[in-house]
């Protein structure tokens, strides 16, 4: 994200200082390299560009199976 905003910072002649990197190790359990997200969208509630109407769940393991209990 910093690379993407670099052009904007140059345009307004502002600079980023005091970069403090929080690595995955420091994040502890919050660092989940295998995390996936399942997103539920509906055109009435949300488009791809709006967050609030969408439902989503972030989890390490996601399995979707058909069920016989109708």
């Amino acid at each position: 994200m910093i690379e993407l905003t670099e052009g904007i910072f140059n345009k307004y002649k502002v600079h980023l200082l005091n970069k403090k990197i929080r690595t995955g190790k420091q994040k502890g359990w919050a660092f989940r390299p295998n995390a996936k997200v399942v997103l539920f969208r509906n055109p009435f509630l949300s488009s791809k560009t709006t967050a609030f109407g969408q439902a989503y769940i972030v989890a390490d393991e996601i399995s979707i199976n058909a069920s016989n209990d109708v």
Partner: protein, 152 residues
């Protein structure tokens, strides 16, 4: 490989159907075990009436879970790389903006606007941090000389 349900949705098999949640089970054991089980029904008024179960282990975040109680014209996506996962997949950076004191008020607003726009475009509007939401806080942080570094 995408699960059958997602393939069927992408093929348009459920165009006239609606999605309904029957049951939501959540099991939480002090961060050792965060499991969530969603029992869904997909049906239309005529032929389709299917039940699906989504099992999720190691749940770390969920949003608007009750929003899927009844959902017509739905889509479901399963993604490994998504802006919502940046916080979990990558290192994060805390930094401070310098040089904002020399900007005029209008320029400052433009800077915040451009940053928010860039963020919105690159995260599809989906992220835990929303710059537009925090724009007032950002503005205050930029105007206060002894401000704390802006996080993220």
């Amino acid at each position: 490989m995408k699960p059958d349900l997602i393939n069927k949705i992408n093929l348009g098999e459920y165009v006239n159907c609606y999605l309904k949640t029957n049951q939501i089970y959540i099991e939480n054991d002090a961060f050792n075990q965060n499991e969530l089980k969603l029992c869904l029904t997909i049906c239309d008024d005529e032929h389709i009436n299917e039940s699906w179960v989504i099992d999720l282990k190691g749940v770390s975040h969920y949003h608007n879970l009750l929003g899927i109680a009844y959902m017509p014209y739905f889509t479901i996506d399963l993604e490994d790389h998504h802006p919502l996962l940046w916080d979990y997949h990558y290192d994060s950076v805390e930094c401070e903006l310098s040089g904002t004191k020399d900007l005029e008020s209008k320029q400052m607003n433009e800077l915040i606007g451009e940053l928010a726009r860039c963020y919105q475009d690159n995260t599809y509007g989906l992220s835990i941090l929303n710059l537009i939401h925090y724009s007032r806080q950002l503005r205050l942080a930029m105007e206060t000389p002894s401000s704390q570094p802006i996080k993220k």
